[in-house]
């Protein structure tokens, strides 16, 4: 009656009982199937069924009928529905707990395995960690810069809604003018898109009493702000109260707020200062509050706030004011600009409004496009470098993954799921990237220090804040995902059996893995070529910038500033200082080793009053002609500075005649006299001066900026003021030698002045060179890294691809293939791969270079020599990476190759 299955099942049961009795319980437990909810419920049902069956046979044995026995068994059992509900609840509870426990246990396993893997090849791990640390550090630093400059430049609540309120004309560039108090009041009263208007005026104030009679009191920066200013910034005083509207009324008692750092340095950080009285510019003011640290003005680089004292500003007074406001929620800065402009154009058209338009600009809007693009490009570069590093590490891990195929196959065969293996890979990758991220923070810190020391000033104050640290963490995890897990999935072993049977020696990798390798090679080559092209372009344009004619020759040019040894009486100063400078010039010129000497400042360092009137232009100040560089120079100046006189002549040899002459530069000549001859025209600067010559423009390298920065006038030297006088020296001597010679000559001249400072002509240009040089240095560094990484990665992958074919090569040789032809074929395949990468890379490099030329001024074209050079490097790397393993394979006896298992 019993079917065959019952027989076999009973044999199995015997075996089971046998096993159960022989094995210790702990071992038996190892072989248990994992508990799932379904299994637990099935178990409970089976147990109940068994119980009821036993009961029924018990009752039947006691003489009950089948129906009676069933009824009695059910009665004894109790409410089955209720029991099933209980079992379901318990199963759910237990499986949840088990899942959590297992997950924790597996995490522990992952960490142990990852640690073992790292210790197994510590050199490999360290190299990977260091490489990634540099790249993650670079992106962190650049993210800091991007965030600080472009994403959230103002450290105030909702700071991205704070806008500067401006009246702009074409050609203002990134220059920002104050607006008149009248316009401020009109805009503040009528704007619906902006709220919380506030204004400030910055100035220098004398604080306290002079330390000695006749001496000056300490001067400190002081900012006059409208009472609404703190409301605009959404901050409260750290101590005391803010300004109230009545504080700014005329006749109100004098009050004062302290910035944080002046409170700490000058008032000892004491809470008692509130209510104290200090003298400011001679009149007493009561300290009503202290502002929190980190307060600046709402300009992105305005950080002097802490040193400043704050005074209430009465906007009813005349004069200009720096105006700011907040965009109302949902309003864009361009919408606000349109509204301001519309309001501006309803006003009666006064002369000053000619061509002007209203503008509301956020801190991001105020970043000049070339700076914005520059920062974006460098950030993209850092991210690209990280990608190259990822590709590199991915390649190395792929190779390692191949050697670990057997390990993974075994793990899978004994029941590890793919998800479990991916988790292990992720853990191993995180084991590399988390330390790399930690080191990367250090790298970023060093990087930002370098930016502060050598970088362009507009990014010098980038902090390493929490946002940057978060960025580091995110990039560490993302990196681990990219290089650790993606290649594993790409090259996933389709056939477990193959891997197990052959142990990774006989069969090549799957097609997917080969494709992954090839993709990595191509990507690395392409990316490193893009770097190369960009770096070459930036380097070339920097060289061009340094070589650019700037209207004078800064090399060997120095500016000697002299000051009187004792205060001169005002009435003799005017006449005396002119003759003093003349005497000094002659004394210096006679000093051996000094060279040519003129009176006047370094070009581009001049002060800026404007001509007040032009003859023939109806006697009014030319509209828009507001800031002209003015230098007081003598007739030798143009020769010494090497500034060309393009028309007319230099100053007259007779100082009395020269004092009534003026020389203007080409830009100003074009601006003032577009349709007539400037020579002989007269300009008013105090007195009427006749234009006798037109000088070539001098400008900063790469001289971009508002038009008025380029207008220059030269007159005879005026009186020596408290800033002293300047002598221009062109010399072959080095700067310490020059200082010594000048100091002695000035002392010997005995005219009552001493050398105050000696400035180098090239130092002036430093500012202009900083940003492009910084970009160039960063890119050169990145490029060296990228190409090195690419070469290493390329070598590793190609050598691996060839080495994998050792057996194939052996077979071919055994079958009589020509070793030379075989080598050629294999090298040819590698070169083809590299060639594909180079082709793609050149296209991308060309695109990158032309994009760069569009967004960064002064950059153009590509650099074919550098590109061809690096293509050569990469091909040589590929060839040597394939030749070495091929020759090794050829040396092996074919019989041995076939035997390798």
């Amino acid at each position: 009656m019993s079917p065959p299955s019952a027989a076999s099942s009973s044999r199995r049961d015997d075996l089971m009982r046998d096993l159960s009795s022989k094995l210790p319980r702990r071992v038996r437990r190892l072989f248990r199937l994992p508990l799932t909810r379904d299994r637990m419920l099935r178990d409970a049902d089976e147990e109940t069924a068994f119980h009821l069956a036993m009961r029924i046979s018990e009752f039947q044995a006691a003489g009950m009928s089948e129906e009676e026995a069933l009824a009695e068994a059910l009665r004894r059992f109790g409410d089955r529905n209720e029991f099933q509900a209980h079992a379901r609840g318990r199963a759910g509870r237990l499986t949840r707990r088990l899942t959590a426990l297992r997950w924790l246990e597996e995490c522990g396993q992952d960490v142990r395995l990852a640690l073992r893997q790292f210790l197994h090849a510590p050199a490999f791990g360290s190299v990977v960690v260091l490489t990634l640390a540099v790249c993650i550090g670079a992106t962190t630093a650049m993210y800091g810069v991007v965030r600080h400059l472009l994403l959230s430049p103002l450290p105030y609540p909702d700071g991205n809604r704070i806008v500067s309120v401006e009246e702009r004309t074409e050609g203002d560039g990134d220059f920002r003018w104050q607006i008149s108090s009248e316009l401020y009041r009109v805009w503040a009263a009528r704007s619906h898109t902006l709220e919380d208007f506030a204004g400030y005026q910055w100035g220098i104030h004398a604080i306290g009493e002079p330390s000695a009679p006749g001496a000056a009191a300490d001067s400190i920066p002081g900012t006059r702000v409208t009472p609404s200013f703190l409301k605009l910034l959404r901050i409260r005083p750290a101590l005391g109260r803010s300004f109230l509207p009545e504080d700014s009324r005329t006749g109100a008692p004098g009050v004062l707020l302290l910035g944080d750092s002046i409170w700490r340095s000058r008032f000892g950080g004491s809470r008692e200062v509130i209510g104290q009285t200090v003298k400011l510019d001679g009149s007493p003011r009561v300290i009503i509050g202290v502002l929190p640290p980190g307060l600046g003005n709402p300009l992105p680089d305005g950080e002097h706030g802490g040193q400043s004292v704050y005074l209430p500003l009465n906007i009813d007074s005349k004069g200009g004011v720096d105006a700011f406001a907040r965009l109302r929620p949902g309003v864009t800065s361009s919408a606000a600009s349109r509204e301001l402009d519309a309001i501006l154009h309803t006003l009666p058209d006064t002369g000053s409004l000619n061509g002007a338009h209203g503008a509301a600009r956020t801190a991001q809007d105020r970043v000049a496009p070339d700076r914005r693009h520059g920062v974006e490009v460098v950030f993209a570069a850092a991210a690209g470098l990280l990608l190259v590093a990822c590709a590199d590490v991915a390649g190395l891990l792929l190779i390692r993954g191949w050697t670990r195929r057997r390990e993974f196959a075994i793990r899978q065969a004994i029941g590890a799921g793919r998800a479990r293996l991916i988790r292990q890979l992720l853990a191993e990758s995180l084991f590399l990237t988390i330390p790399a991220g930690a080191l990367g923070v250090g790298v970023a810190w060093l990087g930002l220090r370098a930016v502060q020391a050598e970088g362009p000033p507009f990014i010098a104050r980038t902090p390493l804040d929490n946002a940057a640290l978060l960025w580091t963490l995110v990039s560490a995890v993302a990196t681990a995902l990219i290089f650790g897990v993606t290649p594993a999935i790409l090259s996933w072993e389709r056939s477990l059996e193959d891997a197990l049977r052959n142990g990774g020696t006989r069969v090549g990798e799957g097609r997917a893995a080969t494709r992954a390798h090839a993709t990595l090679v191509i990507a690395q080559i392409a990316l490193s070529l893009v770097f190369l092209a960009t770096a070459a372009v930036l380097t070339r344009s920097f060289v061009a910038l340094v070589r650019e004619p700037i209207g004078y020759e800064p090399e060997g040019l120095y500016d000697v500033i002299v000051k009187p040894t004792s205060p001169m009486k005002q009435n003799v100063a005017d006449a005396a200082s002119v003759s003093i400078m003349r005497t000094l010039r002659e004394a210096l010129e006679k000093t051996p080793g000094l060279g040519e000497v003129a009176v006047g400042p370094l070009p581009l360092s001049a002060t800026s009053p404007a001509p007040t009137a032009v003859e023939g232009l109806s006697g009014v100040r030319p509209s828009g002609l507001v800031a002209t560089e003015w230098a007081g120079v003598n007739r030798e100046y143009f020769r010494v500075a090497r500034i060309a006189l393009v028309r007319g002549r230099g100053f007259d040899a007779d100082p009395a005649l020269a004092a009534r002459e003026i020389i203007i530069n080409q830009s100003l000549a074009r601006r003032l006299f577009p349709d007539r001859d400037p020579l002989g025209a007269r300009l008013q600067m105090g007195e009427w001066l006749t234009v006798v010559g037109i000088a070539a423009d001098t400008h900063m390298p790469g001289g971009v900026g508002p038009e008025f920065f380029r207008w220059q006038v030269y007159t005879s030297p005026g009186a020596m003021n408290e800033n002293g006088g300047s002598l221009l020296v062109r010399t072959q001597s080095d700067s310490s030698e020059l200082r010594r010679l000048v100091a002695r000559a000035v002392e010997r001249a005995g005219v009552g002045v001493k050398v105050h400072d000696v400035r180098q002509g090239t130092a002036m240009l430093e500012y202009a060179y900083r940003a492009p040089r910084f970009a160039m240095v960063i890119f050169d560094l990145f490029t060296v890294l990228a190409v090195a990484l690419a070469a290493v990665g390329l070598f590793g992958i190609i050598a691996h691809l060839v080495a994998r074919r050792t057996r194939e090569i052996g077979i071919r040789v055994a079958l009589g293939a020509d070793p030379v032809a075989l080598t050629k074929t294999i090298v040819g395949q590698s070169v083809r791969l590299v060639g594909l990468g180079c082709g793609l890379g050149l296209v991308a490099a060309y695109a990158a270079a032309s994009t760069l030329a569009k967004v960064v001024p002064g950059v153009s074209g590509t650099e074919p020599v550098a590109l061809i050079g690096s293509v050569m490097i990469l091909i040589i790397t590929a060839v040597s990476a394939s030749v070495i393993p091929v020759r090794r394979a050829l040396r092996v006896d074919p019989i041995d190759t076939l035997r390798i298992e």
């Binding site: 009973s10 049961d13 089971m16 009982r17 159960s20 319980r25 038996r28 178990d43 089976e46 147990e47 109940t48 068994f50 119980h51 069956a53 036993m54 009961r55 018990e58 004894r76 059992f77 109790g78 409410d79 089955r80 209720e82 029991f83 209980h86 079992a87 318990r90 237990l94």
Partner: protein, 110 residues
């Protein structure tokens, strides 16, 4: 009448199960029968309540389970005491003795 609602019994069901299992591994039906025989049917316990007690003790780690074969060659779940279960049994027994002594002191004063 089933006395599942009997608080005294409900609280001491765990103790009975532990004591029963101290003789050796048993399946659920076996435990039921053993308790019935030992108490001569005096305590009639709902079978489902007994299984709930088994689950409770298993979750607490006092007993361990394993599938095995019953005497009539059917698959049955066997329960056995763990080290922790033996400890629990000792503690519960001591508590029970104190409880019985205290109740006896009131009900049957010497």
């Amino acid at each position: 009448m089933p006395r599942d609602s009997n608080d005294l019994l409900h609280g001491t069901l765990d103790l009975l199960v532990l004591k029963t299992l101290s003789w050796g591994p048993m399946h659920g039906y076996g435990i039921t029968k053993w308790i019935e025989q030992a108490t001569k049917g005096e305590l009639e316990i709902l079978d489902s309540a007994l299984y709930k007690a088994l689950h409770r003790l298993e979750d607490a780690g006092a007993i361990d389970t394993e599938w095995g074969l019953s005497d009539n060659n059917r698959r049955a779940k066997y329960y056995s005491l763990t080290a922790r279960g033996r400890q629990l049994l000792r503690a519960e027994t001591a508590t029970w003795r104190r409880f019985v002594a205290a109740v006896s002191g009131i009900v049957e004063p010497a």
